[in-house]
Symmetry: C2
Subunit: 267 residues, 2 copies
């Protein structure tokens, strides 16, 4: 069926997930929503993130989406269960695919998780990983400065290296061998993080795994777009169209010329 | 009249303004609202910041406030005029008092302004300063990393010193002699900023000037609370009560034990 797939994030970060979906599922149309008026979610409570996610899901349903991808780790951590109850289309989150890949990758059963304050506080990665294998040791760390550093463009910078070194200190102590980049902005720092951790540590980017999970789900439920479907993507935000468009054009393989502002509080 | 004064900010930063009001006007009761569910405002558009400010003003009016203090530089920069049209009580902002003090302080007529992206982009400080004296040179700089650094507790830290050095580079080139700390978090970095700029530069903290302006306005309009009035303060937020209470108790001279969550989108 050629209905679009809804993808949402607190802001622009989820575009890295949208990009992976476009790569792995080039025949599928996307409806992307970025909640740029209320970004970030990573420091906010479960109640608030659930409310915002519900409003967005309601909006996406008005666009006849056949599935919803929560392309935000914080919303995945705090609101997935509630969204699954609310909507009658399949919901894919970014946390479970990332956790699964980390569990498959680790050899010494020591996994590190980097994420926002709310994602880490939720304990969701530990929960999934211990469901897969109770013997896995999980070392998690909230990295609140990573998003502002990335947004300020300090990707390869001595300040970023300094901060990365501090946040990863415990990960190195525990000798983890698999590290989940549990926020959509973090893969942009994979160079610095990789150098700090060394070659023996595998970095897991949930965006890639999420697109794979989505593909599996579409196959299982027979929801693929018809062969030869011409995919078309649409973009919606709650604030700041220009900034969104310039980020989108830096990230996505296709050109974005139009974005619509949505009064998301009314959904 | 003993009605309270409404004070609002995008989050906790405005508590530094509330503190100054409590110090300078100990007989006045305050209703504080922190929009912790939608913080920060500094990267958002005029339209969105105006909408949020309107909702908050509507909420404050339900508490019979006799005046509204916009204790947020971004909301002051983007939404003051609109709020003045909307409400029929006096509105005090943090930008005009800070600009006035900088203009009084400068000797070489070169003033620096530090603020959020949206405050700096609005050009509001330039506008006020040039109304006072068209010959003043204004050097302004958005400092998006200051708030995250303060919130991560990196007040006296080599990383903060490094970032401060970069943001203040232009200010030093232009040899300003007066520097407005145009965001409520920035006075917490006054140590580092002061060392970087040197003793010849006067740092202006708008919180102090705002409380002074409020006092003048209450006197002019005969709105002071009755002598001997026992001030009582109440706190409202849109998210995250515990975090707010712990910050409030670190900042305010009085003990905060209770905070109420408000569904601000419905105002």
């Amino acid at each position: 069926m050629n209905d679009p797939i809804g993808v949402f994030d607190s802001g622009v970060g989820g575009l890295t997930v949208a990009r992976e979906i476009m790569r792995q599922l080039p025949g599928e149309s996307l409806i992307y929503f970025g909640d740029t008026a209320r970004v970030p979610y990573g420091s906010k409570s479960r109640k608030t993130v659930c409310k915002y996610s519900r409003q967005i899901a309601n909006f996406l349903l008005t666009k006849q989406v056949k599935a919803i991808v929560i392309a935000c780790n914080t919303a995945s951590a705090l609101a997935r269960e509630e969204l699954e109850e609310l909507v009658d289309v399949p919901v894919i989150d970014v946390v479970r695919p990332g956790a699964r890949m980390a569990a498959e990758t680790t050899k010494n059963k020591r996994i590190g998780i980097l994420g926002t304050e709310s994602t880490i506080k939720s304990g969701i990665y530990e929960e999934y990983l211990h469901q897969i294998d109770p013997e896995i040791t999980v070392v998690s760390k909230a990295c609140p400065l990573f998003v502002p550093l990335v947004e300020e463009g300090l990707i390869e910078d001595r300040v970023t290296e300094d901060i990365v070194g501090r946040y990863l200190h415990d990960m190195k102590e525990y000798e983890i061998d698999s590290l989940v980049l549990g926020c959509t902005h973090y893969p942009l720092l994979r160079g610095v993080i990789g150098r700090e951790m060394g070659e023996s540590v595998r970095l897991v980017n949930p965006a890639y795994e999420t697109a794979k999970s989505l593909k599996e789900m579409l196959r299982e439920k027979n929801l693929f777009a018809a062969p030869g479907n011409r995919a078309s993507h649409r973009y919606f935000v709650s604030d700041g169209v220009e900034k969104f468009i310039s980020f989108a054009n830096a990230v996505l393989p296709c050109h974005v010329s139009e974005t619509t502002v949505v009064d998301i509080e009314s959904y």
